[in-house]
Symmetry: C2
């Protein structure tokens, strides 16, 4: 039997016991996991240093090294995330809704765990703890398949978490890491039908395409983040600059960073030049359409490809639009349903933007960088869904559950 098959089998076997854990039992384990991450901080950063050294030797880009890096501070955030997850209500058994039918039948819709959740992810080792915590709280077993880049970090985190699970009398099979990081192990996981109830890929285009091509298990696409900021005619100038700079430059390597700025023509001549100066001061390369370049000649000429590119770097595409309709249409054509923001003081514009833009998260006067399970208060996230079915936007505990109808009668039969 392969490693993946054996791990999936153990996860499947562990699932019913995990589904029956009480909230108190799960929270005790989560607190133990959080404490262990902090207590073993030195050990974990040492293991992480090995990964970073190897990555540097392999010439990995600085944005990927940033994603890979664990610090005592980031480990404390991971631990805090687990504590926030512990503090959330248990989703399992939640009665989502219920009613009595005219014939006296009582219909209730109740939340239940999915069973086995698998996640294939790239560099970021915090995903290891985030996914483990969310899956445990939602009564699921998880199968983790990280990247070779983070092999030592992920292995160490999983060891620490499994030790904490054992200390809380929870089966260690709740959290398992696939030892191999070759392509075959990922493909096998994508096809573990009957064993994996949900697969979430967290990675770039190549991973998504591989999922679309090979996956036979249920999955949710955590896709691209071609995020937009639209600065409306009625935007506050300082606020617009602050939000655009934050959305682009605060952490450009992540999927909720802005990639395109759309500016209403009425505000462009007064505001755009100053804002682009500030972006340039942060090292951002601006690629603008003709109207942008007329106002700010330092901009590189944007090509059609720029409107569809997720740079994940200090590059921003900028376009002047004549109306909110044009902005909404542009986002409809080029957006990837991740996160879009409007900066405006005009309530009508805000109402139109929030109702007509089709995206996972829509921000009014706030940075797209808030499209994040932690920032939404979920403690952590399993990923950001860019599809419409099951879950959309940052996924927390609810996304890891299904529901069932439980119907109570007194001998009811259908006429």
């Amino acid at each position: 039997m392969t490693d993946v098959a054996e791990i999936c089998g153990r996860a499947k076997d562990a699932a019913p016991a995990l589904a029956r854990l009480t909230a108190a039992e799960k929270n005790r384990a989560l607190e133990g996991m959080a404490d262990a991450l902090e207590r073993r901080s030195d050990y974990l950063t040492e293991c992480n240093a090995d990964d970073i050294e190897r990555a540097r030797a392999d010439g990995i880009s600085s944005t990927l090294i940033d994603r890979l890096t664990l610090t005592a501070g980031r480990l404390a955030s991971m631990a805090d995330g687990l504590r926030v997850v512990a503090a959330q209500p248990d989703p399992v058994g939640e009665v989502v809704g219920g009613w009595r039918r005219p014939n006296g039948l009582t219909v209730t819709q109740v939340r239940a765990p999915l069973g086995v959740v698998a996640v294939i992810y790239e560099a970021r080792p915090n995903v290891t703890a985030d996914v483990s915590g969310l899956c445990l709280k939602s009564g699921n077993a998880c199968v983790l398949r990280g990247s070779s880049t983070a092999l030592a970090s992920n292995g160490a985190i999983v060891d620490v978490l499994r030790h904490a699970l054992a200390g809380a009398q929870v089966t260690q099979d709740a959290v398992q890491l696939v030892p191999g990081t070759d392509r075959a192990s990922a493909t096998e996981l994508m096809q573990a039908k009957g064993f994996v109830d949900l697969l979430v890929p967290r990675g770039g285009r190549a991973l998504i395409e591989s999922i679309e091509q090979h996956a036979t298990v249920p999955h949710i696409i955590d896709g691209d983040g071609n995020c937009h900021v639209y600065v409306d005619a009625e935007a506050d100038h300082d606020m617009a600059t602050r939000i655009v700079v934050n959305a682009k430059a605060q952490r450009p390597s992540v999927c909720n960073a802005a990639e395109t700025l759309l500016v209403h023509a009425e505000i462009a001549d007064k505001w755009l030049g100053g804002a682009l100066d500030e972006l340039a001061a942060k090292g951002v390369e601006v690629r603008g359409d003709e109207r942008v370049r007329a106002l700010w000649p330092n901009a590189v000429a944007a090509t059609d490809d720029d409107w569809d590119t997720e740079y994940l770097d200090l590059v921003l595409a900028v376009k002047v639009v004549d109306s909110i309709d044009e902005a909404i249409a542009h986002i409809g054509r080029h957006g990837t349903s991740n996160a879009e923001a409007i900066v405006t003081d005009d309530l009508k514009a805000a109402r139109r933007f929030t109702s007509e833009v089709d995206s996972g998260s829509i921000f009014v006067n706030a940075s797209t960088r808030f499209s994040d399970g932690g920032e939404f208060g979920y403690g952590a996230e399993i990923g950001i869904s860019t599809q419409k079915l099951h879950a959309r936007g940052p996924m927390g505990l609810q996304a890891l559950t299904t529901t069932k109808y439980v119907v109570w009668g007194d001998g009811h039969v259908r006429e």
Copy 2:
């Protein structure tokens, strides 16, 4: 351009306007559609008679003829279904949840239409009206692809509904029927990526397998209904008989009819013989394991295949079990996650069955035949999901929506 491509394009174009319809506008159209079905009842049953005549000539089975048949009574039920849909709250714009973050950001999760919903279905022409009504109320355009058997009936129903839509000033492209019923038109619909936001197949194993093989659009499996009734040791004898007879024989051709009866050994000798006599009197063929045949010699010997067979006919597999654990384990191995029932007066048994059985709908002291959107109060159903993601069990309006996060700030940026 093919018919399917043209129809999907029109549906996609119609979607934004349908998403913006107010509840009042949609309800007016639904009332008009309901009235039209009743007013044109003679015309519709005449068109249906053509289909039935052709089906009889083709030697179609009596259960399929039953599914195909429209009567004034069934048309009135379809109209009533549309009125119940009209009476339900508009799911579009529903604020599913919301909260304020410590930093003052207001996070809301809001329901939105999916866009274009396609349904591929077999004989039953009532699906045409049910899907049209649910899609309209949830702000979606629908593309219907029925079977050749019901071609005249479906065409007539869609004509009547589109006429009613026009009368209510709603675009007729909200409801479209694919004219072809060849395999190519189904496959094309399964691969209309970027046009179809949700595809629901309603049909047998061959259709499901075709979807699993060909579909590239998001879809929900409306799968088999190998439904179980478990008669517990503490069941009321009369109630148990009434429920088993109803679950099996009231309408055996549908997916929520029971296919397997599990009987606790402690009640089997006192109760089973009489119950099987009543089933036999209704024309039901019993296939029993050895212990069943010892108690009731008329039973045919069940083979292993019987536990996995959805007969959709007057045939019932029957097995004696020694405990509720054995019943739960049997359902876990052979169930298809559609509907399962327990008959018991023992609260502990009911609590265990409802929490440990993994199925879309679980009934306590009620027939599996209630696993139905109409019976749940949804007015109609888009299908019964037998998968865990997005929707599970009978699907009503909510299953036809997605959500988006709308987040309000005052210039918030991330630190």
